[in-house]
Amino acid sequence: MCLAIPGKLIEISENAEGVRMGKANFGGIVKQVCLEYTPEVNTGDYVLVHVGFALSKVDEEEAARTYKLLEEMKQLSELDDPEAEDHLPVAPPGFGT
């Protein structure tokens, strides 16, 4: 649980029954999404979509900040454990036995 994918909101509208809907672009695929649970989003925002509903806006600043931390981790681990590369097998251990 649970398959949810981030997509870029490209359109907002209201359907015939007054429900706030939109269209989100997932790497070139455009799909309709229900926006009732994310009243704060605007076109251009990224939203997380599960079973056709936007559940959250992607916090792009937060994403950039935490990603940068991951990238900066590089120097530390390389210094302390230069043999780390050797531990990555291509075939899973014990395979075929």
Binding site: L3, G27, G28, V30, Q32, V90
Partner: protein, 358 residues
């Protein structure tokens, strides 16, 4: 024992000792047609035992045999796709390409096709006309002639608009020997272009997915591409078009047939952004999604570069790539190095891949 729809279970089913299939379904289910394990079992347990002969044994895309000194290939394919019209083609076009490609995968030059139509009462005449026209165009483009056929009509509700079978004969090129058993350790595995296109094109209509750039089926006749490959004079061990069941089914079958292992590199497998997006949304693994105008070639490693160039020079092969190699390790199994450096086994599915929410 009650007559259940589900497989029998209990202590009397032990792998290896029971001659009946593990999956003892009392009825055909859709999964039996999906190109995965259940399809395989249906063939192996019910059909093949009745028709054992050396021409059928290889279980390749077609049968190859000699008559009066000429080496011929013979193949058949049936199409039941729904919807019958989809971006990039229709059921008629698929049916022509399907048999043309099966013959090409035997190393043969496709020559003549037959067609059998099963039409549902109520099919609009205009739709049938469009499909037949489309078949003619496809046959012309592939350089084959339709030489015989048959048409039947069934009551409304007894066929899903139209079912088409095509069969075909081709002549195998001199010096060419395509056989799944020829895959050997060290060989490189080449795919001729982006995967999962056809399956996603079909599903896009079914699921109502909208694309910025419409995803059209990649259905195409591959005999021209195959000619281009043979024209450079190198030995090709295996050719296969990965249709139902996707890349995985095709490679798994070859691995099992030849008793070899395969190692793929996930990052090398070509896939377009849109198809990737559609797979993400639906929760599908592109390795299992059907392809049409694509082929897999297994070739000696010293010739892989030259053959890859030849494929890339052809309009149908511009995105071709080496995606892995054949290995003596883990025979019968296809392994893949994942995008993040881990590893997993790529096994055949039992039936249809279903969209998921989890």
């Amino acid at each position: 024992m009650s007559d259940k729809g589900r497989p029998e279970e209990g202590g009397n089913i032990l792998m290896g000792s029971c001659p009946l299939p593990l999956t003892n379904y009392q009825e055909i289910v859709l999964a039996h047609g999906s190109g995965g394990k259940l399809s395989q079992q249906l063939m192996q347990k019910i059909v093949l035992p009745q028709f054992r002969n050396e021409l059928l044994e290889p279980l390749h895309d077609g049968a190859v045999f000699s008559i009066g000194g000429a080496r011929l290939a013979f193949s058949t394919d049936s199409y039941v796709v729904n919807p019958i019209f989809f971006p990039g083609g229709d059921i008629g076009k698929l049916a022509v390409h399907g048999t043309v490609n099966d013959l090409a995968m035997c190393g043969a030059r496709p020559l003549h096709l037959s067609v059998g139509f099963i039409l549902e009462e109520g099919l609009p005449m205009n739709d049938f006309w469009r499909i037949v026209q489309s078949m003619r165009e496809a046959a012309d483009a592939a350089g084959v002639t339709l030489v015989t056929g048959d048409t039947k009509v069934v009551d409304r509700g007894k066929a899903d608009k139209i079912f088409i079978n095509t069969s075909g004969i081709g002549q195998v090129r001199e010096g060419v020997s395509i056989d799944p058993k020829r895959a050997r350790p060290g060989d490189k595995i080449i795919v001729s272009g982006c995967i999962a296109v056809h399956g996603i094109a079909i599903m896009s209509v079914r699921e109502g997915l909208e694309f910025e750039t419409e995803i059209a089926s990649d259905t195409a006749p591959l005999n021209g591409l195959v000619e281009a490959i043979f024209a450079i004079g190198k030995d090709v061990h295996v050719l296969r078009d990965p249709t139902r069941g996707g890349l995985t089914s095709a490679l798994s079958e070859i691995a099992q047939s030849a008793g070899v292992g395969m190692l793929l590199d996930e990052a090398s497998i070509p896939i377009s952004e849109e198809v990737k997006g559609a797979c993400e949304i639906l929760g599908l693994d592109p390795l299992y999604v059907a392809n049409e105008g694509k082929l897999v070639a297994i070739v000696p490693s010293e010739d892989a570069g030259t053959i890859l160039s030849a494929i890339r020079s052809h309009p149908l092969g511009v995105d071709a790539a080496v995606i892995g190699e054949v290995t003596a390790d883990h025979p019968h199994f296809v392994l893949m190095k994942t995008r993040i450096g881990g590893s997993r086994v790529v096994d055949m599915l039992s039936g249809e891949q279903l969209p998921r929410i989890c």
